[in-house]
């Protein structure tokens, strides 16, 4: 039979510990459990990574963005570089990588049979290692 005293105990077991001596039903349920329970102090637990994660400090973001943009504009003016030239530079560096890959492919076509077999072996080994590494489960804990 659940009484008000039982409910008070359920709400705060530590403050109403004396209730167990009075109520046989609660004592049977919570009195001597097989698992030893200790009072839980949230403050004593280590800080979880998600705590405070949703906070969005817009002044900080705006400040950093302003400083970066201002520095970028000033440096571009001083160096005489336009935004189009920077975009050209980025695309150009990516094109250089593409050209390098195509160049390696061309030189491999003209390489000896042994070099081609070596490349195929390297391709298989690297991808086998990649698959083996991808099979490992992540370790970090994010509750």
């Amino acid at each position: 039979m659940k009484t008000q005293s039982c409910e008070r105990y359920l709400e705060d077991p530590e403050a109403n510990a004396g209730h167990l001596a009075e109520c046989e039903e609660c004592r049977a349920l919570f009195g001597e459990t097989a698992v030893a329970t200790k009072p839980l102090h949230i403050e004593a637990l280590p800080l979880a990574p998600w705590e405070g994660a949703k906070h969005r400090p817009w002044p900080l973001v705006a400040l950093v963005a302003f400083v970066l943009l201002a520095a970028s504009v000033v440096l571009c003016r001083m160096a005489g570089v336009s935004a189009a030239e920077i975009a050209d530079h980025v695309i150009g560096s990516m094109q250089a990588r593409r050209a390098a890959v195509l160049g390696w492919a061309d030189s491999l076509r003209e390489a000896s049979r042994a070099a081609q077999i070596g490349f195929v072996a390297a391709f298989v080994i690297v991808n086998a290692v990649l698959i083996a590494l991808l099979r490992r489960a992540p370790r970090g804990i994010d509750a």
């Binding site: 440096l75 571009c76 920077i86 890959v101």
Partner: protein, 216 residues
């Protein structure tokens, strides 16, 4: 499903645009030369201007990605801090695999299938790099300015939360990137770490890449 779309749709659009621009823009053949000679006139100033401008673009990417998928970025960042060596090894192997696979795909260009395969590989590589570097920003920010206790966290107004940590990491790594000679090496190393952490956590989703075969 919505979370996956929210993360990958904008990233895929950005990556596909970059790769399309790379393919479509006029290029100087197979010569490895820059579109404008940075090395010649006032190269130091020009390089700094380009770097700072690119860091500003990275800020946009970091803020956008952290707002859209903060939990995934945090998950990859935690993995990076817990298993740094594994992430670095995985990143190195993955970058090598990208290059070797691109060479293999380039053999298939005459058979039509090579071009879409190369395009997809390039898009995937760009997505991995962008996501991974944002995870590195977050990890670096958490290492340098992350709160250790609840009191410390509660006392902070600005330097708390995923967004602040990602921005802090970007500022620190961006400042390191400005150092001549060493900066690009540090940035490239961070990219390798980022690619590794992105792949190790399957872009923060912490799901297995392959289905396990269970024998009866």
């Amino acid at each position: 499903m919505r979370r996956i779309l929210r993360l990958f749709l904008p990233l895929t659009i950005v990556a596909a645009s970059l790769v399309t621009a790379m393919i479509a823009a006029p290029h100087p053949g197979n010569q490895l030369e820059m579109p404008f000679p940075l090395e010649h006139a006032a190269s130091m100033m020009q390089e700094s201007a380009v770097t700072v401008s690119l860091i500003a673009v990275w800020l946009l990417a970091a803020v956008g990605l952290t707002l859209m998928s903060g939990r995934e970025v945090r998950s990859s960042s935690i993995e990076l801090r817990h298993s740094a060596l594994h992430c670095f090894t995985l990143g190195l192997v993955a970058v090598t695999s990208f290059v070797l696979t691109a060479i293999v795909f380039s053999y298939l260009i005459p058979f039509f299938v090579g071009v879409p395969l190369l395009f997809m590989l390039a898009v995937f590589a760009v997505i991995t790099k962008i996501y991974g570097l944002v995870a590195v920003f977050h990890a670096l920010g958490a290492l340098i300015g992350g709160a250790r206790t609840r009191d410390e966290l509660a006392s902070r107004n600005w330097l708390r939360g995923d967004l602040a940590l990602a921005v802090l990491g970007l500022v620190v790594l961006g400042a390191l990137r400005l150092i001549p000679v060493v900066g690009p090496v540090i940035w490239a190393g961070a990219s390798v770490f980022g690619v590794g952490s992105a792949l190790a956590t399957k872009f923060g989703r912490r799901e297995p890449w392959f289905l396990a075969v269970r024998t009866a």
